[in-house]
Each structure stands twice: as structure tokens, then as C-alpha cells.
Symmetry: C2
Subunit: 384 residues, 2 copies
């Protein structure tokens, strides 16, 4: 069986995009990815759309996007796994190619969240937690992750300063990313004095709802080599779930879905945590990045707070993480995020990340969590 490679990438600006419809956002990223690959759309066999449908007035997004991209009669459909929908789309495209059904597939992650009001978004988000027994009692999305943060603080002595340090790092790198929603550095004092959200979280512990799209073009090994001389290979895939009900979780200081998904992806790619030179992880809240350090094996269990305090996740540290700004500063258009992470890792592995370039990045990883942790998709990429 051959490999599957990424041969083109495109990424739009994240933020409040009242200037464009969701299909226009998708088109911008798609056009750039096709230009990057040097392909005409006739070469594509199919597209897969990563998005969470219910944020848009337009339902069944895949159909309207396929038309807007000029891809009829080719097949398309949408994948959804909450905030990991983009990675589910990439996994689906990988399978489509490895199954022999398709040779070249476009994956478009797109989301326009700001058509809805903030209370509407909060209500929808809460219902990505378990509705029958949990969210009915008022759990919110920040509330879910705040529980994880409190448990980690209690168990391992993680501090609010360490949480805030994640935000400081991600804003530091976001300031160098022209696609980021927030391109401003912040200080730890600013983070610690921001408005409270759900204890221990303050505003700067939370990522922002955003609009935006990203696109990758994936191809079977032979075709990929014909198309591009800088192919990045998707060699390891992991996907796992844990209970949606937080009350039924075996632990609150780890996401079992992330531990299992990374185990699968490392094994399939024949690498270990120490081989990962650059990673994009799912920092929807600051605690989530600290959990990711530990769940991915970048540091020992309970040492995530110290890991950021010691700047081990900065460029020059042991494992540079989210040097594109992460969800925190780049913004989090939920269905897009997994594809956006992939675009960043491909850029890094190609050596095209400019001021944010991680030296000698030859193996990279994406870690994309859905919901309150019930889904996790981990992908390992290699250059060569």
C-alpha cells in the first residue's frame, strides 16, 4: 500500500468575516490550495467538507460548496465530529485514497460562526455536551473545561500563572501569523487581570469563536510525486473516543481519547513523542494545551504546567507547540480547525513558516479534539 501525501494548502484569514459567505470563505482557501498544488479542478476526484452544519443558515453545506467550487458532478459529503470535524474530513479523504476509490481529493474545512449571536453559540456549544443528563443542568463549554482545570490544579498543583502562560505563548506566535484573528502579544498580567469566565478561567484562557476556512489537497503516492516536489506525507492516523458524559470519565486530568489516538498514530507512523519536532494541539482553553502536552507524551503526567513555565513548547524548547497562535490567538472556526492545523504542519515541514519556522522540522503532529473531549484525532506527518 502506498502513502497519502498533502500536495497543496490554502488558508484564509480567521476572524469576524462579515465580508464573505461560508461558500466564499471555502472558495478562497480552495483556490489557494489548488494554486499551491498547481492543479486544475478537473484533476480532483472528490471533495470532503469538514464543518459543523448547524451554525449556518444554509444547511447541507457540502452541496452548496461543491457548486460554488465548480466541482459538480464529482462527489462530496460532510463529516462532523464537533470541533474535530476537519480532522474527520482528513481521515475520510485518506481512507478514500487508500481504498483506491479516489486518487486526488480536496478537503475543505469551513465554518462561519458569527452569523449567530454569542448566546446562540453558547447554547449550541452546551448541547455538544451530553444533553439528557448534563447540559440540562446548565453545564457550559467553558464550564466543562474549567472542571478539568480545577482537577489538574488540585491533583498536580498546576497554577493560574501556568495556564496564562499558554495564552501568552500563543498570542506571541499569533502576532506573527497573518491569518490569525488576534495578532497582538499579551502579557501574563493582562491575561491574569482579564474578566472572569468560569473559574479558574478568565477571558484569555478561552479561544474565540471565529469564521474562516482552510483547504488541503491530498493525493495517492504516485500522483502526489507527479504533482509536487515538496509532498508532506500523512503517515500516522489515530482516532478514539471517550464518554461524552463527563460524569462517566475514568479521569478528569487527561483525555483518554487523546491518549489512545496518539498511541495509534505513533504506532502507525513508527515514531514516538520524542520524534515530533512541531505540533499543533487543540488549545480551546489553556488547560487543554497542558493536557495535550501530557496526553501526547511530550512531558510526564502532571508536568504540563511546568512544561510551559519552562518554555519547552516555544521554538527552541523540547517540543514547539502551536507556533501559529493555536486556537487561542488564531481563532477557532470549529469545523475548520483540524484542516488549519494540517496547513500549519505542512508549512512547517516544508520550511515555509518564515519567522515562526521550527528548525529542522521533519516530523509533525496535529491533535484535534471534538466536543468536551469525546473525540480526538491525531495525525503524524513526515517530510521526505
Amino acid at each position: 500500500m502506498g502513502r497519502v501525501g498533502i500536495v497543496g494548502i490554502g488558508h484564509g484569514r480567521f476572524g469576524r468575516r462579515s465580508d464573505a459567505s461560508v461558500q466564499e470563505l471555502a472558495f478562497d482557501a480552495f483556490r489557494d490550495a489548488m494554486a499551491d498544488a498547481g492543479l486544475a479542478r478537473e484533476v480532483l476526484d472528490a471533495s470532503v467538507i469538514g464543518a459543523v452544519p448547524e451554525y449556518h443558515k444554509q444547511r447541507s453545506l457540502a452541496g452548496v460548496i461543491q457548486e460554488y467550487l465548480g466541482l459538480n458532478l464529482k462527489p462530496t459529503w460532510l463529516t462532523e465530529a464537533a470541533c474535530a470535524s476537519g480532522s474527520a474530513a482528513i481521515r475520510t479523504a485518506w481512507m478514500a485514497i487508500q481504498s483506491g476509490l479516489h486518487q486526488v481529493v480536496a478537503v475543505v474545512g469551513c465554518q462561519k460562526m458569527t452569523e449567530l449571536s454569542t448566546p446562540e453559540i453558547l447554547a449550541l456549544m452546551g448541547r455538544v455536551g451530553e444533553v439528557q443528563w448534563e447540559s440540562i443542568f446548565g453545564t457550559t463549554f467553558p464550564g466543562y473545561y474549567a472542571m478539568l482545570a480545577r482537577a489538574h490544579m488540585h491533583e498536580y498543583g498546576t497554577t493560574k500563572e501556568q495556564l496564562a502562560s499558554v495564552a501568552v505563548k500563543n498570542h506571541f506566535y499569533g502576532a506573527m501569523n497573518k491569518h490569525a484573528m488576534f495578532q497582538k502579544e499579551i502579557t501574563i498580567q493582562k491575561a491574569l487581570s482579564s474578566a472572569p469566565v468560569a473559574s479558574p478561567f478568565q477571558v484569555f484562557d478561552c479561544c474565540a469563536n471565529a469564521d474562516g476556512a482552510a483547504c488541503v489537497i491530498m493525493a495517492a503516492e504516485d500522483r502526489a510525486k507527479q504533482i509536487s516536489d515538496k509532498v508532506v506525507w500523512l503517515d500516522g492516523l489515530g482516532s478514539a473516543t471517550t464518554t461524552m458524559s463527563v460524569i462517566r470519565r475514568p479521569t478528569l486530568t487527561s483525555l483518554p481519547s487523546a491518549v489512545e489516538a496518539s498511541r495509534q498514530a505513533y504506532k502507525m507512523a513508527g515514531v514516538g513523542p520524542d520524534d515530533i519536532k512541531v505540533a499543533d494541539v487543540h488549545d480551546c482553553f489553556t488547560i487543554a494545551e497542558i493536557l495535550a502536552y501530557e496526553d501526547l507524551g511530550f512531558c510526564e503526567k502532571g508536568q504540563g504546567g511546568k512544561f510551559i513555565e519552562e518554555k519547552q513548547s516555544y521554538i527552541g524548547g523540547k517540543h514547539p507547540v502551536n507556533v501559529d497562535g493555536g486556537l487561542k490567538a488564531k481563532g477557532h472556526p470549529i469545523g475548520t480547525t483540524g484542516v488549519s492545523m494540517t496547513v500549519e504542519i505542512v508549512k512547517q515541514l516544508r520550511g515555509e513558516a518564515d519567522k515562526r519556522q521550527v528548525p529542522e522540522a521533519d516530523v509533525g503532529l496535529t491533535h484535534n479534539v471534538g466536543g468536551n473531549g469525546q473525540y480526538c484525532f491525531v495525525h503524524v506527518f513526515k517530510r521526505e
Copy 2:
């Protein structure tokens, strides 16, 4: 490359299911499919959920269903292609298996529509048409298909009696299907005197919103043969799209997506229309079944009205179609329908359809349309 087989099927009752939550509906179908396959859940590698998310209070359904089925830590995600979501899930599972990533996968189609009021459902459905330029002017779902019906009547002389004959046939068979929402025969007079909906449609030209779930267990060839001695093979897959905007369609008397998807599926399975002994097609409105006869090559273009008038789609006719009652009488829980069609064809190919059994059914087909025709998935199944 080996084949992919269906080794287990499960199907719940369709209708207004205020007795069960969507995860309970899913569980019933899943339990029956696993019992049919004689499998314990540990054997499964993953599940794929076919559903349209926005009908449920619970969002990100795949997560809550995976937990309810007891399948954590295994991966899951949801596929959406409007009313063809179930077939997109089956295509995804086929790819997962053929790619070598998984060996045994459960596909669950599930939908609970009646949590919403009829006006809410109508509003959601309209937005599965193109929102920016079409549905904003008031197009409804029956309205879209009524346009296709009017065009077919104009072009080919198709009559309201022929449309009604489709409903009569499907209610005739629905009366023999214990899972059907409507288990009552109707007369052509009853259909023709029912309340108007969107000219030329009356109530009996339209399928009903419903709740319900269905499940199939799919496995790689070697595993399938170990698991079951009555495997049905999914040997042909086709998927295509046409524009969501009806205004940009090249024709209103055919669905180009269906013509192309069936071409692909026939070619891949090495069969032609004449080989198809039994088919389940997407009769969301009576005209849709007539278009399907023509698009699938069961009769000449324009002859679909005559085809049903001559009872060629009854058991004993040239191509028995929807002998489970179809969407019309069985009900149409939108995300479930593609999986439900698959369950029926597997039953027919196994010879287990009792009074509705098509004699010597060795090759069968499903034709599942999404939206107002923008998606079509065609699958060809073989016994042996």
C-alpha cells in the same frame, strides 16, 4: 483488493417514536444487527453515524451514540449529505475497510425528526435548497420536486394518475412491512382526492417525516466469511453531485447526480440495469421514483410513468422497486434512509423478505438522493 461484505442488519420501527430518544433508537437497531451477525461489540473497530444533526437537541450525535452503544474508546464520526447521509456513512465505512484502517465497522443511520414541529422541519428542509438565491424567495421542499414533476408532465405526458400509482404500490408493500410507518393499503382514488400540497402534489405524493434507526455491520472479505455464511457484498459504489441551485441544472426531468452515480456503480460492480433484480430508490415524492426508474436505466427516458402504470416495478414486473414500502409508506427519517434501504436489499438478497420476497434476487441496488437532488449515492449489492 478484497471485497467488503454486510454481515449483520438491524432495523427499528419507523414513525413517531416519542417512546425513545435518538440514542435509544440507534441502540435498538445496533443490538439487532450485532445479534444478527453473532458478534460481541469488542470485535468492532469503529462506527460511522449517518444523520442530519440539526434535528436533535443533542448536538454532535456520534459522541452520545458511541457512549450509549458502549463503544468507547473506538473511533466514530458523523457523515452528512442531507437525506443521503446514511449512504455517505456506508460509503465511508467501505473506504475505512478497503483502506486497511479497519476490519469491522458498524454503520448506524438514525434520526429523530418529530422533536421539532412541522413548521420547524419545513423551514430546515427549505434551507437544504440554495439559501442565498433560491429558498429566500420561498421555495419549499415539496415545491422543488413539484417543479420536476411539472416539467416531466409537460415533456413526457406523465399523468397525476401515474404519480399516484407509485404511492399505491408503495403503500401496498408497506402494508406487509412491520417496520413501516404506514401499514395500510390505499386506492388510487384516495390518493387523488387527498389534500393539495404543491401542485401537482397531493398528500399521498409526499413521504412523511419520521423517527427511526437502522444499522448494518460491514467487514473485510476474510473477516466477513468467518463471521457469516450469508454475506451480501457491496461491490459497486457510485456518488455524484449536481448543482444545489435548481436554476443552474441542465435538466429538470432527470437528476444528473443519479445518472452519474449509477454509471459509476454499475461499472464498478460489472453489471448493468438489466441485472438488477430488486432496488430501493429514493421516493421522497412520487415523481422521484419515476425519475429513478429512468435515471437508473430501468426504462427509457420519459417512460417512467408508463413503467409504473404497467406495474413493472411490482414483484413479478421487470424491476421490483421499493417493495418494503419505500420512503412513501415506510417513512423517511432522513439520515436513516440509506441504511434502511441497505437493510432491505440485504434481506432480499438473503431471501429473508417473507411475503415481500423478490424471487431469485441475486443482485440489488440502492439509490439514495440528498437534498433536492444535489447528492446521489448508488450502491450495488451481490449475493454469493
